[in-house]
Amino acid sequence: MVEESDTYHIRPNHRLKFKPAVVKRYIHDIVRERLSDMQYDPETVAELTRSLAESIKDKVKTAEFDRYKIVVQVLIGEQRGQGVKMSARCLWDADTDNYADDVFMNDSLFCVVTVFGSYYY
């Protein structure tokens, strides 16, 4: 991305901003498709989270948010009645940068996906 010449654009065009709603739908579809009938299995879950993150990242890239850096975080946990709390905070430019997240639960696992988009000036 850095090989592209500097455009000196400080702000992306309004229509080309990172759209949380669009990304949230991508996450929603992919997670439901992959995890609907999955059980939590300690051996395969590592590979599953990694491949889920890759799939979501590839899907978000197809949306072509120009000059945006993407960070995708996937969390899969076993449902055993324990308490969990996840929070994130960012030091960034609130005008250009944004995030999208989604939660999925079934009987044996829960999955939280967060996608952050940060504009590269």
């Binding site: 991305m1 960070v71 324990q82 969990v84 996840m86 929070s87």
Partner: protein, 154 residues
């Protein structure tokens, strides 16, 4: 224009770098500042330490934040909200004090210990040479804490 003579080579008061003064016919004086000297003034700003994501430094900040906020406390459902917020805020405040040209994303997960499994993965589409991430796993007797910091260069 042909330079008649090289009048002066040395530091001058206005621009304290080595400059060359050339005296031309027709009473022109040209001051030439060698490119190497101009870049020397940018040295401080461009040095590696001030513009790269240093994992050890960030890792230390995260560990200190968690120790300070949670320490030896036991998992309490009513306090978890406040803990996550405090940990993340502390991290962010310390990171912004580093004064680096980065945007930061700090993520904190607190989970009660009861035998359940947890897996997290992250993948990023960014510039590998300038951006970086640091994840710290911390635990005490009653809970697990996972904190991830992503630094995106401006």
């Amino acid at each position: 224009m042909v330079p008649i003579k090289n009048v002066f080579t040395g530091e001058d008061l206005i621009c304290p770098r080595r400059v060359h003064l050339f005296y031309f016919e027709d009473n022109f004086i040209v001051i030439l500042v060698p490119v190497s000297e101009t870049l020397a003034t940018m040295d401080d700003f461009m040095s590696e330490d001030k513009t790269t994501f240093i994992v050890e430094e960030v890792s230390k900040i995260i560990k200190d934040s968690v120790e300070t906020v949670i320490g030896e406390n036991s998992y309490k459902h009513g306090r978890v909200n406040q803990w996550t917020t405090s940990v993340v805020e502390q991290c962010l405040i310390q990171l912004s004090k580093l004064d680096k040209p980065f945007k930061f994303i700090v993520n904190c997960i607190i989970m009660q210990k009861n035998g359940a499994g947890l897996q997290t993965a992250s993948t990023c589409f960014w510039d590998n040479t300038t951006d970086g991430s640091c994840t710290v796993r911390w635990e005490n007797d009653t809970m697990y804490v996972i904190i991830s910091v992503f630094g995106l260069a401006i």
